[in-house]
Assembly symmetry: C3
């Protein structure tokens, strides 16, 4: 069964998403449609890029991901479709795909210029309904991506979305920042991290993109600073400490995260998108 995901900033109250699904099912009646999120903060292409990066890898090969966070709808920003080794992506060319595309995975990029695959009447304000949904449905039906428009030869020609990256400070500390806050108030930073070692000897290895440094965060010798508060515990899971305690952990998308057991770290700390998080590795 063809599988299409939708990621938008439309919310679900206004019928915009339902209308897109009507268009999709009119073209590809046996499509399974999965809502990845419709709660992207309005016009926040970075949040959409982050969420798509964390989620798309869990979908089966051949999935068509339609992303409509599109403040430039109706202007001359391009609409694009991309085929990677595993998936298809349909989106405005405004950076929302930046974090899922890489030279190793991209097979083909087209500029959506062929109106044969759009609705007959195209508005200036709702390309999700008029262009992106029908194009996604045609891809799910097996239409060749090359038929959808003219080729874009180089990934570098696409608009990029620059997420801030963590920086290594003199002395070995790392300056990261909050790039996503979820429903639980967990503060997800831009610092990629993963557990290594075992038992008492386990530790977290962080990585600084574009830098060969791999700071090591020792489980029992670590601290982080956020909004003037010091966090001393590096945990495996939210429930490892007492309710109300602030901890750092490696979140499910593979980034260092600040959380509070059975509570809301964002509210407790007053932290927001962009809030600075300083990490002191202290080694093992």
């Amino acid at each position: 069964m063809p599988l299409i995901t939708l990621t938008t900033d439309f919310g679900t109250a206004d019928g915009y998403v339902g209308t897109m699904k009507g268009v999709i099912l009119g073209i590809c009646p046996d499509a399974a449609i999965v809502d990845l999120s419709h709660g992207i903060p309005p016009q926040n292409t970075k949040a959409a890029a982050f969420l798509l990066a964390a989620s798309h890898g869990y979908f089966p090969k051949g999935t068509v991901h339609v992303v409509v966070v599109d403040p430039g709808v109706g202007t001359d920003r391009r609409a694009i479709a991309v085929r990677t080794r595993e998936h298809f992506f349909v989106a405005p060319d405004n950076g929302v795909l930046s974090l899922v595309l890489s030279p190793e995975t991209v097979v083909e990029i087209v500029h959506l210029t062929n109106p044969d695959f759009w609705l007959p009447r195209v508005s200036k304000t709702f390309h999700g309904r008029d262009i992106f949904a029908p194009v996604g449905a045609h891809l799910a039906n097996g239409v060749e991506i090359g038929d959808l428009g003219g080729p874009i030869r180089h990934q570098g020609d696409l608009v990029a979305c620059h997420l801030s990256e963590p920086q290594l400070l003199p002395g070995g500390s790392v300056k990261a920042e909050v790039v996503y806050i979820d429903r639980f108030g967990n503060l997800i930073t831009n610092l990629p991290a993963k557990w290594s070692g075992e038992g008492d000897a386990e530790f977290v290895v962080a990585s600084i993109p574009g830098n060969s440094a791999n700071p090591v965060l020792g489980r029992c010798r670590f601290h982080a600073e956020v909004m003037g508060r010091v966090i001393l515990r590096l945990c495996r899971s939210y429930g490892e400490v007492d309710p109300g305690e602030l901890i750092a952990l490696v979140g499910s998308a593979g980034y260092l995260e600040i959380a509070v057991c059975c509570g809301n770290a964002s509210r407790m700390l007053g932290a927001e998108f962009g809030t600075e998080v300083i990490i002191h590795p202290n080694s093992r």
Copy 2:
């Protein structure tokens, strides 16, 4: 695959919608179910009527639209099913279907009186689960609408939902009002409008229902007043101006709309459902 849409004021947190889907899939296991909206403001039949009117036309022929915004559940208000040339509708007879039914499209209307197509036990408080969901599922299964209850011969016998209509003022201005506010804070008015002309000569033609007047809004000679603010720009798309600028445009449902580029017009202006919008056409 049979297609059923759901439009309710139930929200999605309480399990009411999920329960309706369980009932539907028990009767029609291969139904595709699309959520049109569950965020209709509680008991707001007008908002439901507007949203359904804007969305239903994008669904394929044969779609069954189930609408449960039903403050009179359990009283003697009727439950109805309607077959139009293209679709089926199942709803309480309280006006929610007013804007999608017309003498030209309605083929058959029935009063839902046949309990063979309901759940065995019918509560007084949740007909969405006990009557509307099973009836919708049976229609999706191909049950004849005439089997569901007694005929209602005339559309005029149904309860009507009176949306306010725009008025032509002496001097040629138009008094419209806000009939829907979406997640982005866009103020959708009750003034039908569409673009005409091309390039520098393009303009918007409005229409006053029940009146032959068609005020013309010139792109460069137009202004609107909302909450004491004057809006001078009539744009094709949200992104045509600088962030923060107030504009008017023709929204995706075909109505004049007040918006702010990358912002929230409702919050910026303090506008609400029913807020007056005065439009001065000024011609071309």
Copy 3:
């Protein structure tokens, strides 16, 4: 078509639910997935238990219910799967299934210990994605529940969720409390109740779990006290009285409920989860 329901406290904005669906459809591509709720208050296992109890009976035989309200994720709390006469359930062993399992219905319980049915890499923070979703999908595919892990012989070995129960007071009154508040602000109590009789002679029979007493609430001789307000009307439906009037009624899940016609009882009364409701039966 295999049917899977999802009940979580994840919200729908962050992509967690969409990711679980990607995992499910990768394993069981023809599954129909129904969202029962993703708006469970964070970590509120009691609300999840209540909602699941009210809803699951409306799903067809063989449905797989996946429940992820899981404050103990990554700790040593067990993950379980349960087969009842009608359905399957997959959840953490933290009480969320308490209200749907009974000695009469439970056929088999297993502790999820077999990683063959999990994702290859299991995080410590998102078992919804890594364990519960794939296990649910394998069950929907027809995998034997006994293959998923070791048997748990007795239902009594599971963690129980203790909802407060209504108490019979000296004199025959009943002390109930609010156990759920829905989107409309309706206050759902823990007092099971149903209508009996007919016409002018109709009345409500309440039941006190674990007690043979069945207080009878006469339609015209009844009052309830909530937050210092007295409610005199026992109604069949929300719309039976004038807008704004406070009433008691039997809600769609079979519990006594306090509501206000076309309004929000929770806001009007300042009532919350746990608010006391005293019912004076007064007989017929």
